[in-house]
Symmetry: none
Subunit: 201 residues, 4 copies
DNA sequence: AATGAATGAGATTTCATTCAT
DNA sequence: CATGAATGAAATCTCATTCAT
């Protein structure tokens, strides 16, 4: 509440962007537990007080980072949907190691940070809606019949498999990965016209 | 006497178990970042020094916890495999919220704690082998034909979907969950004899 | 702004000086092993955190103390050299109990603290150069002939004897001290014009 | 006082010797501040409690170490005195880096440990007496005349110069050392018959 | 003769946060 | 806009010591 009242650095400030950039590198390199005012400041070559000037509390910083990550995610989805082969591009997005590693840090963070949890929940729902809408548009008819699952289920399933590949990969565990990947790809092949040709043709 | 200063508290010590129990509750309730000597001690009603007596470093404690979780996991798998309907019991295991929440904390921890990563990697591989062996034995012939994926892929896919359901559930996100769950269940129905009848009949 | 998070408290801060003053008293009274954040803070009537604010690590504090001692030493040498009887004044300096006690603490510290060792080595060399230059200027011709040792040797010898007197004195051991002191004084008498008259006359 | 009452390990125990041996290595390698029950135990491959069994308090251990060092010193002096060229052998003893490094640790320790100070003072006096007696016997007549200093002074002077060489050498500082060493050696040459021939001949 | 358990103190460091300028 | 100063809390670890067995 005090935070809301205080006038903090403008959204557009270059310094603000610098801080978020440094925090981003930090969370990727050393995990969310390493994101502290001081560490971020030293990464960015700034004084800790300045970080507090832009982000009065640690929650403020974390939520801003979460938002930044979410925006990048949105951009990646949008790009995928505008590609020639949007469904397969979405699958590629769902297995992007860098994005998923980041998302997992925020999922873990969400366990102890109410503010982060709230934002992550919103973004997660939004992504689901976006994907469901896309799958419906792109695959609707083909998913309707029998054996397959509806667009919303597909979104959950593919996200889960993608995350499994990345999470385990991070541990150095890869057995079964090629097979799981092949399974998804055959599935998509069944649902889609031959690669390269737009799905709607 | 040569290898002194080693294994401090005997594996069997009641105090040791008490500490691990408290740490377990703590990580479930408040996430891995809350596991500190002080907090664990206060949960267990002990002095922080005593925690250090049993677990000289935080890594020691964390690895012991990881091991404890892994053992419980193993027991759960074993139980599933001895049930009437082992495949569906395995799927239930793969979506058990409490176990997965714990596993996710350790996955996150593994990012910053070398010792935890090493142990998690080993256990993850062992679980995969165990599951693959079970799926091969229980479903081998049926998975062989065409559309499905081999046992190793199935293990990855089901683990991924299970984790997705739990992770998102933790955020309060559930859209698509029922559909994804139904998809897996139909899949299992296709692979298995009607519920209740042992797979081998 | 680029090189932020550096030199915390300004060199000139009164608080900083207060901390160094307290640390100085502490090391004199209780030896280097007593120099800890807590103790220094309590001596200075400050909170431990504030000591850490000015000296992020214990090494930082120790090196600052070493530097401070070295500067005082330099001032004392300079004063000695500007006196009427600079050589005897230097000998007095080399047996000053308070200064030497301090120097010995830092020599001992240098054994386990890389940063202190580095600084002590530099300062020790600088002092030697300064003394050699002074002895050369003041006694050059007279040291040239036969039985005596050159300025550089003289510097080592007098420093060693001075330290012996102080170190043993600290233990309460004094036998032979008067004789050793007389030996040096006779030596200087031989090299110098009668007391009071400047060496150059 | 409680310590005096308690029955501790016999002086002759092999374990006791093992502990002292480990403590000795430790103080040489890492300085006196590193000598703690736990560190010594781990060096010796024993449990901390066992160290406490033999040395109820840290002071007990330190004094025992000091005593051990003193005994070795005594042996070295005795050996020097029985050599062909006892005076030069004593000078070699007074510049022995390993012995002096140890002695300096105990001098530093003596600042904060009453018990160690007491013992060091005694041993220091005893050594002085021993050396004075030897110098008197070996060089008496020659020191009597004019320019030189009496045996007791000589003992202080040589000890001081020897320590200077070792202490500064430890810092990597060596300027003037060769000259100081040459000075002492010329001095001894003046006092002694040509090398190799016993002084009394 | 030896050891495991326990404890209280304290050292070192990192942190988030506040405040005044 | 930005910063220096200050603070209190806590995390991690090491220690000496005691006690009961």
């Amino acid at each position: 509440m005090a935070a809301a009242a205080r006038r903090v650095g403008a959204e557009s400030s270059a310094t603000r962007a610098l801080i978020l950039e440094a925090a981003d590198k930090l969370i990727r390199d050393e995990g969310y537990a390493s994101v502290s005012t001081r560490r971020v400041a030293s990464r960015a070559g700034l004084k800790p007080s300045l970080v507090h000037y832009y982000f009065p509390t640690t929650d403020d910083l974390l939520v801003a980072m979460s938002r930044r990550g979410a925006e990048e995610s949105d951009r990646m989805i949008e790009q995928a949907l505008q590609s020639d082969d949007p469904v397969r591009a979405l699958w590629t997005f769902l297995t992007d190691p860098s994005r998923i590693a980041m998302a997992l840090e925020f999922m873990a963070l969400a366990n102890h940070r109410e503010a982060v949890r709230t934002h992550m929940a919103e973004h997660c729902e939004a992504m689901r809606r976006r994907e469901v809408e896309a799958f419906t548009r792109l695959l609707g008819e083909r998913l309707a019949d029998g054996a397959d699952c509806p667009p919303s289920g597909l979104s959950v399933v593919l996200a889960g498999i993608g995350r499994a590949l990345v999470m385990e990969g991070g541990l150095g565990v890869t057995s079964g990965h090629a097979e799981a990947r092949a399974f998804v790809e055959q599935w998509l092949d069944r649902l889609l016209p031959p690669k390269g040709q737009p799905a709607g043709s």
